[in-house]
């Protein structure tokens, strides 16, 4: 099962590279959304591997709340472009 996690880490490196290299703020936001979702899914996978419900609940909360924070940030950046 470690192989699955290693593959997920390699997939996580792709949006990190994108966030580092791309100068467009919306591309960075896309990379942020991708990373936030990938990391919380990885937390869920780890929780299933270890059969640990405490980490699993935290993963679910981070999965939902990370998207809410993303929406707030996107709204502020959008307002900045309008003015």
């Amino acid at each position: 099962m470690n192989l699955v996690l290693i593959i997920m880490i390699l997939a996580l490196l792709i949006p990190i590279y994108e966030a580092w290299q791309d100068d467009d703020i919306w591309q960075k936001m896309l990379a942020f959304a991708s990373i936030a979702t990938k990391t919380s899914v990885m937390i869920l996978v780890v929780s299933v591997l270890r059969d640990d419900w405490m980490i699993g609940v935290v993963g679910v909360i981070i999965l939902s709340v990370g998207n809410a924070g993303l929406m707030l940030l996107a709204h502020i950046i959008k307002r900045m472009g309008e003015l």
Binding site: I16, A19, I25, A36, I43, I55, V58, I61, V65, I76
Partner: protein, 205 residues
Amino acid sequence: MDDSYIYVIVALLPLAALILTVQVNPYHALVIRGILGAVSALVYAVLGAADVALTEALVGTMLAITLYAVAVRSSLVMRLGVLKDSLLEAEQKLELALNDAQVSQRSFADLVADLRTIVSQYHLRLELIPYPDPQSLHQALMAKEIHATCIQRSPQDEASIPQSNSQPYHTTTRIHRLYKILQTEPLAPMTSLDYITALDSAEKH
């Protein structure tokens, strides 16, 4: 239990932190800070600290970024005071310029567009604040409501200073750094530039 993947996951944290430190644009840095928060929440959860991971995700990623975005947005701004008439004129000129190219002399809209490109190199926003007459404009500059003023020269002004014919506008700023920035940039054919000191006694709050 073979936990070799933990080392790889932990290595992501300094990587994200390194990317965060090389950012120049404050908004880009905010987005990367969100990425750092997501990665560190992953690291904390994998290492078994579920409560720390939850706090990082709720406070570090969501609340802190939103508050910092509001702070950066309201502080990285250049407030330019203009007269109401010239602002209206600029908007009309902008509409006219779309369908015919008869605008021979460079208008106020061009000057504003130039200023916007110059200050955006320093990650600043340009905010135009209209005032009814030059007196209230000067008062607002002295009261530190605005950072700079930009007004058209009056005809008697142009008569007294002959070389000002080529510079139809006059810009005054009370921020020395803004004065330095605007001085080095090629605004010369459009506007003359002045630096004045506003007294500190006006700021009590």
